[in-house]
């Protein structure tokens, strides 16, 4: 419990530091959202008036704490580009990215764990060689190209979905998922391949260790050795890897969202950056930081559960 509280407080501290760093770095960048939203034709006076109205002339500490206070209540300010609260924008965009993430993470885990184990179990066998060939191919293909192929095969040839016709969840949940599964596949394929490769090598490494020989000398069956003795050890490094993959997927994929015309966070971030819509950028950066920090926190907790050596 003490450990839990210690980790939790370091999590909060990290997020606070990220927010300070983020806020300061936006002060350093020339040009603010007042200038950006009024465009190049605006006079000095109108920009100044808007700065006053937006509270940009106040002391930097005052602005930081008022921003932080609002952010904690879920208020990230007004988007200059859309002229609506950032929180509403996020409420609209976040579910798309989250759904995409959940679907692709599910695919990654469901496919990679059994295949990685199978591949390691029969190292050098036919199934291992087939799986290794497929994973190498999948890792070599860039995501955008994979997206194009999926659109071509499933969209244009098999006609399982209409490319570009995104259907929102509120319109029709079934069709929404039917559409989302294809970008999810595009995201999942290369990451599944990496996870398989990682898990395979981890299991193979464990199988060569002395304690496996001890387990064999006791008269254990091979399957028991694999599932009871080896897997728990083999998963220790794989968990860190899967956590990195999950964090990456949750941050949103700019390319895949663009390619499948999904109104997710990735696309919103790109347009916000090019339009200097700083309140949106700040909110998304905080979101990504929070995702990474929370996932690391969870990984630490999981480690503590499965690896007794961490419990000191």
């Amino acid at each position: 419990m003490k450990y839990f509280i210690r980790k939790l407080s370091s999590l909060i501290l990290t997020l606070l530091l990220v927010s300070i760093f983020l806020f300061i770095s936006f002060q350093v960048i020339p040009g603010d959202s007042a200038a950006a939203s009024l465009g190049t034709s605006a006079t000095k006076e109108t920009v100044e008036a808007l700065r006053e109205e937006l509270g940009l002339n106040r002391n930097v500490f005052v602005r930081y704490f008022s921003w932080l206070g609002n952010a904690l209540c879920g208020d990230f300010g007004i988007s200059a580009q859309y002229n609506m609260p950032v929180s509403l924008l996020l409420k609209e965009r976040m579910p798309v990215t989250l759904w995409l993430a959940v679907l692709s993470i599910a695919l990654i885990i469901i496919i990679s764990i059994p295949l990685g184990i199978q591949s390691a179990k029969k190292e050098g066998g036919v199934s291992d060689r087939v799986i290794t060939f497929l994973t190498h191919t999948a890792m070599a293909v860039p995501p955008f190209f994979l997206g194009i192929i999926i659109t071509l095969v499933f969209g244009l040839i098999l006609k399982w979905f209409i490319p570009g016709r995104y259907i929102s969840y509120s319109e029709n949940p079934g069709q929404f998922l039917g559409y989302m599964i294809f970008p999810a596949i595009a995201i999942a394929i290369p990451k599944t391949a990496m996870t398989i490769k990682f898990l395979r090598s981890s299991v193979i490494r464990q199988l060569k260790l002395d304690y496996v020989r001890t387990a064999r000398s006791k008269g254990n069956q091979e399957n028991v050795i694999l599932y009871r003795h080896v897997l728990k050890n083999a998963f220790i490094p794989v968990i860190t890897f899967i956590a990195m993959v999950i964090a990456d997927v949750l941050a949103g994929s700019i390319i895949i969202e663009q390619l499948f015309s999904l109104p997710g966070m990735g696309r919103m971030l790109v347009t916000a950056i090019s339009n200097r819509d700083f309140s949106v950028v700040q909110a998304i950066v905080i979101y990504i930081a929070a995702v990474v920090v929370v996932i690391n926190f969870l990984v630490d907790i999981i480690y503590r559960c499965i690896d007794p050596r961490v419990r000191v």
């Binding site: 002395d210 304690y211 001890t214 064999r216 000398s217 008269g219 003795h229």
Partner: protein
């Protein structure tokens, strides 16, 4: 139980054992090979032997002689790359090679069990000690109820000499010392009361006093339960002390076999003789140190202080600390003392030994002397600007991706002031000096054996004409015959160049052979300093006595 065992031991001497009892295990002409680039390397070639019931049979030999492969063949634990090319193994009337995997599996752990060399890695790190031991019962005595299983597990752990078994049951391997882990392995191997125990170098990785305890435990199990033991060791002294009969393996074949008495008193084969000769011998010692005439010596320290030679090293009241990692972000670092108030001197041309078990602070002392540790207090006065150090592990301490020439040249490059030609000629000279031919400059470290690598390390330490070298367990990782040659080389170089050594070893026999004086270290302190003969004749400190008793 133990009473019965004693009677049994008293009734049957070693020679009677072989007459009365039937063979439990018969190994018939087995040959085991590894596929390598289409060729087959035979690791074990036409090996035959028998183990009688209740007997401890020794298997000796250097690394690579096929000892472990033979043991793994009996256990059916060979890796995929190895294959049995011929022969048969009969265990208790059953042909092990013809058994179905499922039948063989029921014998493993139950009737034949094995303990391994590395107690640190042989246990599963994420499973409790209790579960790992109890797993044997789950596999072979699954009719037992849970409470009964636990009771038997605790009893087995206790019998292996472990204390507080109720706590231990829930502990993980990393919480135990090497000796405790090996006891757990023994408890595990013996819990089903097997007919045959294969012990593959069970004490090699352990400290000498622990080693004696573990050997005693194996002998006790043998006597109490009549379990036959195949005892594998590279250490002939251990074999001599533990077994009645033994055989010596050389390059996959049996070189010689017989009773231990015959093997040690009159080895017949040249190889066995060579092995016996390589054991550091406590009775034959050649020394070049001027003060070692026992009559002239009353007290090691006193004579040295009055000695006419100048001191090359003087250490006064040395304390060495290790900074422990801060546990919390803002908490203070804690310091752990590893060397406590140590004073010593080494005179020009002297070899001073430091002996002690792992964790006694030997290596920290050595590192502090050559300046590899900063966290220390006290005085180190060194009359040598370029102290050198040779480390224990010749595999890990030299860069395997570099050529020998590069390694030897590096200290000269770092020093500067040598032309390329000078450097080359110095490298060749030192290479010959350490007994390697010229063409080795072009060899990669990875192509060299352990002994050759250690020669390179010694060469690199000498190349800048250093007069003082710290040798940290320089032969511990080497086979006994290689060990003897490296010690010879070190002696030769010491005489030739009038070098002084600080020689660290856990092995008293090596210390005896090499050193003039010796310091015994225990828990960071020097508990006794004496001339080597003095220490062996009449050790003063109780810990020195315990160490000497453990030397076999």
């Amino acid at each position: 139980m133990s009473k019965l065992g004693n009677e049994r031991k008293n009734n049957l001497g070693p020679s009677q054992l072989s007459d009365v009892n039937q063979p439990l295990l018969t190994v018939n002409h087995i040959t085991v090979g590894f596929q390598h680039n289409g060729n087959i390397n035979k690791a074990v070639n036409d090996v035959s032997f028998q183990i009688k019931e209740g007997e401890i049979l020794g298997m000796a030999g250097e690394s690579g002689s096929g000892k472990t492969i033979t043991a793994l063949t009996i256990m059916g634990l060979l890796s995929k790359e190895a294959s049995v090319l011929g022969g048969s193994i009969l265990f208790d009337g059953k042909d092990l090679f013809r058994l179905k995997p499922e039948e063989f599996r029921k014998i493993k752990g139950n009737q034949i069990s094995m303990i391994f060399q590395e107690p640190m890695t042989s246990l599963n790190p994420v499973m409790t000690v209790g579960y790992q031991t109890e797993e044997m019962l789950l596999l072979h005595e699954n009719q037992l109820k849970q409470a009964e299983r636990k009771r038997k597990t605790l009893a087995a752990l206790k019998e292996a000499g472990l204390k507080d078994t109720e706590t231990l049951y829930y502990q993980y391997p990393h919480q135990l010392s090497g000796g405790m882990r090996q006891r757990v392995m023994i408890a595990m191997a013996m819990i089903c009361k097997p007919k045959l125990l294969i012990a593959d170098e069970p004490t090699t990785a352990l400290d000498v006093t622990i080693q004696a305890q573990i050997l005693g435990l194996i002998q006790k199990m043998n006597q109490e339960y009549g379990t036959s033991v195949l005892f594998i060791s590279h250490d002939l002294a251990v074999i001599k002390n533990t077994c009645t009969r033994a055989f010596v393996m050389q390059e996959g074949e049996i070189a010689e076999e017989g009773t231990v008495r015959d093997l040690f008193n009159g080895p017949k084969k040249a190889y066995t003789k060579k092995l016996m000769a390589a054991i550091p011998d406590l009775s034959s010692r050649k020394t070049g140190f001027p003060f070692s005439d026992p009559d002239a010596v009353q007290n090691g320290q006193a004579v040295l202080l009055s000695g006419k030679e100048k001191n090359i090293l003087e250490v006064r009241n040395l304390h060495v600390f290790y900074e422990e990692k801060a546990k919390k972000l803002f908490s203070k670092k804690t310091r752990k003392q590893v060397v406590n108030n140590v004073s010593l001197t080494i005179s020009q041309g002297e070899i001073l030994g430091i002996v002690g078990e792992s964790g006694s602070g030997k290596s920290s002392l050595a590192k502090a002397v050559v300046g590899l540790i900063d966290s220390k207090t006290g005085e180190v006065i060194l009359n040598e600007e370029r102290p050198q150090m040779v480390f224990q592990d010749p595999y890990g301490s030299l860069n395997p991706a570099k050529k020998v020439g590069w390694i030897l040249e590096e200290p000269l490059k770092l020093a500067g002031g040598y032309s390329q030609r000078e450097r080359k000629s110095k490298v060749l000279k030192i290479l010959n000096e350490v007994g390697l031919p010229d063409e080795y400059t072009e060899r990669y470290l990875s192509q060299l054996s352990g002994g050759q690598r250690q020669r390179v390390a010694i060469g690199a330490s000498l190349i800048r004409n250093s007069k003082f070298i710290v040798l940290d367990e320089p032969v511990s990782a080497l086979d006994v015959t290689v060990q003897a040659r490296i010690l010879e080389l070190l002696k030769k170089l010491q005489k030739e160049y009038d070098l002084s050594y600080l020689f660290i070893s856990h092995d008293l026999k090596v210390i005896y052979q090499m050193c003039d004086r010796v310091c015994v270290m225990y828990q960071g302190e020097i508990v006794e300093t004496a001339f080597v003969e003095e220490l062996f004749r009449k050790p003063v400190h109780p810990y020195s006595k315990k160490l000497l008793e453990a030397v076999l």
